[in-house]
Structures are given as C-alpha cells and as structure tokens.
Symmetry: C2
Subunit: 189 residues, 2 copies
Amino acid sequence: MQLLKDRIIAEGRVLNSSILKVDSFLNHQIDPFLMKVMGEEFAKRFKTDGVTKILTIEASGIAVAVMAGLALNVPVVFARKKKSSATVEETYAAKVYSFTKAETNYITVAKHFMPSNERVLIIDDFLANGEAALGLAEIVRQAGSTVVGIGIVIEKAFQPGAKKLADAGYRVESLARIASFENNKVNFA
Amino acid sequence: MQLLKDRIIAEGRVLNSSILKVDSFLNHQIDPFLMKVMGEEFAKRFKTDGVTKILTIEASGIAVAVMAGLALNVPVVFARKKKSSATVEETYAAKVYSFTKAETNYITVAKHFMPSNERVLIIDDFLANGEAALGLAEIVRQAGSTVVGIGIVIEKAFQPGAKKLADAGYRVESLARIASFENNKVNFA
C-alpha cells in the first residue's frame, strides 16, 4: 500500500539491521486516518472470506484491527499479554517469544469471546519471526475455530515469520513488505 | 449516551459493589461501531476547543481514542504502562496506582510525541479513582501543554475520581455516569 510505504520512508527509523521504529504513526503515536485506510484495505482483501471475528494483540494491533472490524462489521478481540503462564480456566493461552525483548510472554483470550466455528481474521502490526501470529493462530485452533487469514501492517520479509506462516498453511496479506534495511534505508520487497 | 447505556444494561456484569465488567464490547472484545459512535460524540463535545492531540493509555482506551482522533483529525498518543520507574531520558513519566489490581504502575510517553503548546484531549475507558486520568494530565503538564478536557466512556460517579478531576480544574465529559450498583443492577446518575 503506497500510502503506508510513503510514511515508512518519511518517518520510519532504522535502528539496526532488523529493527524499524514507526512509533510516529503506528506504535506509540497513531495516525487515525492511516489506520482507517489500512483497516479498509484489510477488509477489501478478506471481504469474500466470511470473516466473523478479528483477533489482534494489545496494544499496537488494536487501532488498525478496529478499523478493519468497522469495515467488515465484525467484533474485534484483543489478546492480552501476560508475564506468567498463570491463566484461569476460562482463558485460552499461547506462549509467544519476543526476539526484540528476549523474553517469553503468554497471550490469553477469554474463551467466552472465542467460541468454536468462528472464521477469524488475525491482524497484527509487525511480522518478523511470526511468534505473535502463530500464538494467535494457536488460540483460534484451541477454540475450534478457523483462521481465514493473517493481515499484517509491516512484514519484514527477510525474517522467517512469513515463511513459517506459509508453511503452516496460512494466507498472509501484508500492506508493506520490507526486503532489507541498508545504510539506514528501507528497501521494499 | 443512550446507545452505550443500553449496552451496559444488556451486557455489563456487576462483580461487586465497585467493579463493572464490560469486556464484551470495550475491554477485551471491542464493538467497532460503538467505538465510532462514541469517538464522534467526544469529537462533538470538544469540537470548539482547538484540540491538537489526543492522549490515552494502553490498551482499552486506544479504540475509542482513535475514533475520536479520526473525527477531530488529530493524532492519538497512547501512554505505555510499565511496572518499574526505570524510564529513559526521552520520556515523561507519571505514577498511577490501580485500586483494582492494588499495584502501582508507571505510565510513560515519549517526549518527542508530547511537545509543548499542544491542546490535549485525554480519553480513557473508565473513571473511578481518577488515578489514570491524573497521571495522563501530569504528563501533559510536564510537557508544557494544556489539557482541554477529559473524555471518559464510563464514569463511576460514586467513586472519588470525578470530584478529584473537577477540583483540579479539569472539564470531564463522560458518556455514561453510574450512580451505584444495586443487586447486580446498574443505576445511572
């Protein structure tokens, strides 16, 4: 999506060979209009897939997921991150390792909001190693529901996440795909 | 706002004399259309106040704040919650005590996204003891910007937050004001 690529070029900050900061419009400060356009783009790409629910993860996935939910007229559920595995009986949980933070978190979703037989669109802000998306997909599997696809705002195509998700049989739709970072510059795939 | 009150009556669960769970449309599962209507209502109430930025707090405040930001055409910044006070030089921080969780968190905002001379609308999902709103207002004060008002989705008017904010001189606009919980029933103010 050109609008997103333009913003990444204008405002993204390449911190090292794998970290891109886009906290001026996505991860800390949020541009509501860009979220709306991106949410509508996800809705367009999945409009014939019978999506009944969107699943995302706190906090940066929420804004774009809610805009996609508005366009598709479906509810959005956000998984919560927890440090410990202590979950109550009423939640589904999956383990997610963060390479950036070098720590394991658990993500949880109340069973009540993820019943069986839903057709779930997973949305997240970044795809790098695929840990978060695989964790969300694991929760959908535990619930007995179906992942119809995974919508990603920014895919770092040089990291293994996209291949892992494809190998697991998931359809991935990314709004911007980054091939590499070179000399603090972003090269799109 | 009647639409919100109807949802609270239909889906809110009163857990004890002070806790109301509305996680089917606000705090865990999110109803995007309701968020849009509420965001537009905040925009209407503050449309002549020259708002230049919205400040909220992760995670439940983000959806409605982004809808308000879309309607007012201003960026949204969400404060991050942290367990420790270890902040870097580039952030503003304030201490927030959670009575529900009986723990102190620190909320932080990158200085870069909260410059001076902004006219800031604070938005949050709940107002109970006022700790979160006061922490957000403290960050705006540190930045040398102005709080033009505080928009709250659900105010528990029987708890001291609203009075604390009024005493501190802040204008509070709540979409639903709850006077009390009685026999698992919500009484609006």
